[in-house]
Symmetry: C2
Subunit: 419 residues, 2 copies
């Protein structure tokens, strides 16, 4: 089966909005085993949408549109598709009621109800994050057109809750996806280790690179959810075995989530002292709801004076080793741990650039230390081969620092591989 | 003049990469006054690229491709376009030398030199951030095809340095763009104030929404850079007058950049004490190179104990007013200022959610205070009408807090409007 996507929206062609909808849909189609051969964007223009639709239906089994389902005169997608499919739009009472409820107590223009007019015979997809419902429509030539709203938060929810099951159901199948999150190994190296697993058809396994990390998505299709889950399970396990200690979690959102939940489970508290990352590690920890239970204090100590005053880093370390050094990272971790009365202290000092590098201490060099009161571990992050920017160095250092805590909590060697 | 974009890359159709190239090009075309009617994505497949190209050339004056210029066998864009245009690929000696220099001292496969083969008669665009050059090619029917690399960092640089001037030059024109950055007023309200200015053709003015802020881009086309700049100037000035104190800078990158540079100019130091933003303000300040000159200490004080221990917030404030209150924000700002020996202290306390809200203190309520030792100002940020998530609350609070410092430095009322 193959598919194509038509994104409808003049704002996309003016560059006002990045088209993330297409990426999100592309991933779901890939997981479903449906080939996406083509995607295009047209403005809010019935004639051009009609032309794109005609072409798409001539060559693809499934056509997915995003956008143009709203209340304004610009929103033409349903009208244009219904006309092309030779069906009329009819009022969908349940959708009308949902819109009424949505606006309860606030002004609701008559045009809002235009959104409840849907192609006759379609399968309606409720909009759980907004007002415009979507739908799936089978044409008399056996093709399928799926209409989704444009705003990504509405689109993504509707896609995953209703459109993907609708597509799977047409093949009398249920889809289950699992996510293996990985840090500390490149996408290329990881892919080499699991290449044979990514060649399967059911479940499919695919690697995706994210900034400074990657993930493997395993997706299976079966008659029931249980069967699909059972198909995934051995591949998930095998990916975890092959990627070993680099796997930081399965079906989790982020490294910081794993760290915060790990601290919660063990009843431990963490304190942070950051120089070059400037609060990024604290920010990431507190991105996780509930971080307050395990994270009471973070210090951003940019100057040497503040490192000594706040954390008790011995002043003589600076002339002897420099602020970017193993002894200073160590003293920061130990100092902040004591100051906060926490179980664990994390210290980070390095050169984020662009200025300040020397041949001995180049931009990109970062030391990080983790102390538990008994022992202090230090990791040294060397600059990459090619010069990267300040943001990249800081993001990478924050990742490596959080990964030390993750390793400590998991009982793995804290320093891990040379990084 | 109208244009369309063809993005080439199987990774886009698998959802591995978000297509930001199209958005960036769309903005430049819009600023140039060129209408983008259509954009599409095809995989690394010569046949489908050929079909898309044929269609694009049949209806558009300018066709811009991204991707497929690299060294591998998958990279087919130049070959396919040259064939369609009936020209051959020839070695471009300067590009060959650039590739040689790029790989100096490292292994360089023979296939790298494939990138120096370019359509005969084209205008070559150097790649200042990578290896694959791009080019502009005029077909014998007077259409223009522009080929750009896929990686956004390479594409954007080449587009702005070479492709935009190439397009402008064809109309014997030079383009100048100015950026007015705005915070504290919604895109809708801002647009209403400057609607008449956005209707001009030269210069054009357009509003763009960004997370929690917006910007206005003014672009003029003229025979010389001076003339184009002179056309922009009065519109930039008028936008600044109409949007008044909400304009935080012209041709700057971010609010934090304005704050860091403002502190540098005035020789002032800032210290931060964050509760609900958890280090986000410190992180944003230290995103700016040179922040170390003006920012020595940040504290992330999540628990009441640490607020008292580290910042000297009087313990009796917590039972009397609660941690999320004006007196605590005030004491945090004053306390961190004193502790760090800084000129200015910033304190932030609020409820980021999702849990912890009450009818009196709902999720989204944030107090922030700025102290200069003589006076302390407090802003109260109320939750928006519709519930937003934790990230949104934190980002917005960080914006408002940085905006207080910006206002202080600019001599504006620090508390500004009720927010």
């Amino acid at each position: 089966m193959n598919a194509e996507i038509i994104s409808v929206g003049t704002e996309l062609l003016l560059g006002h909005t990045v088209n993330t909808d297409t990426t999100i849909i592309a991933r779901e189609l890939s997981a479903l085993g449906i080939d996406l051969l083509f995607s295009c964007t047209v403005g809010d223009n019935a004639e051009r949408l009609r032309a794109a639709l005609r072409e798409a239906l001539s060559r693809s089994d499934v056509v997915i549109t995003t956008g143009g389902l709203g209340p304004t005169g610009d929103d033409l997608t349903k009208e244009t598709i219904a006309e092309a499919a030779g069906v009329e739009l009819v009022l969908h009472e349940e959708s009308r009621q949902r819109i009424e409820t949505y606006f309860k107590g606030r002004y609701c223009g008559e045009n809002q109800y235009k959104q409840a007019m849907l192609p006759k015979g379609c399968t309606v997809f409720p909009n759980d994050a907004g007002t415009a419902p979507g739908c799936g429509l089978e044409t008399d030539t056996g093709k399928v057109v799926i209409m989704l709203p444009g705003p990504p938060s509405e689109m993504e929810l509707m896609l995953k809750r209703y459109a993907v099951p609708y597509l799977a159901q047409r093949e009398q199948a249920v889809i289950v996806s699992r996510m293996v999150r990985v840090f500390g190994i490149g996408e290329g190296a990881a892919e080499e280790k699991i290449r044979d697993l990514t060649e399967g058809a059911n479940p499919t396994a695919a690697t995706y690179a994210k900034e400074n990390e990657m993930f493997v998505r395993i997706t299976a299709k079966a008659a029931t959810e249980q069967e699909a889950a059972a198909l995934c399970e051995p591949v998930v396990r095998e990916v975890c075995v092959r990627l070993g200690e680099f796997v930081y979690g399965v079906d989790v959102e982020s490294l910081e989530e794993v760290v915060v939940h790990g601290l919660q489970e063990k009843g431990l508290h963490l304190a942070t002292a950051e120089s070059c990352t400037g609060g990024l590690v604290a920010k990431r920890l507190t991105d996780v709801p509930g971080a307050s239970e395990v994270f009471e204090m973070g210090a951003v100590t940019y100057s040497n004076d503040v490192k000594s005053m706040l954390l008790g880093v011995p002043e003589e370390l600076f002339p002897a080793y420099g602020a970017v050094s193993e002894p200073v990272a160590r003293a920061m971790a130990e100092g902040v741990r004591k100051k906060a009365g926490a179980s664990l202290g994390l210290g980070i000092t390095g050169l984020a650039g662009p200025g300040g590098g020397t041949p001995e201490k180049p931009v990109g060099l970062v030391y990080m230390a983790l102390s538990d009161g008994t022992h202090t571990w230090v990791r040294r992050m060397d600059p990459p081969g090619r010069v990267k920017n300040r943001t990249w160095v800081r993001d990478r250092a924050a990742h490596y620092a959080l990964d030390m805590v993750r390793r400590y909590l998991a009982g793995l060697p804290v320093e891990g591989h040379a990084v």
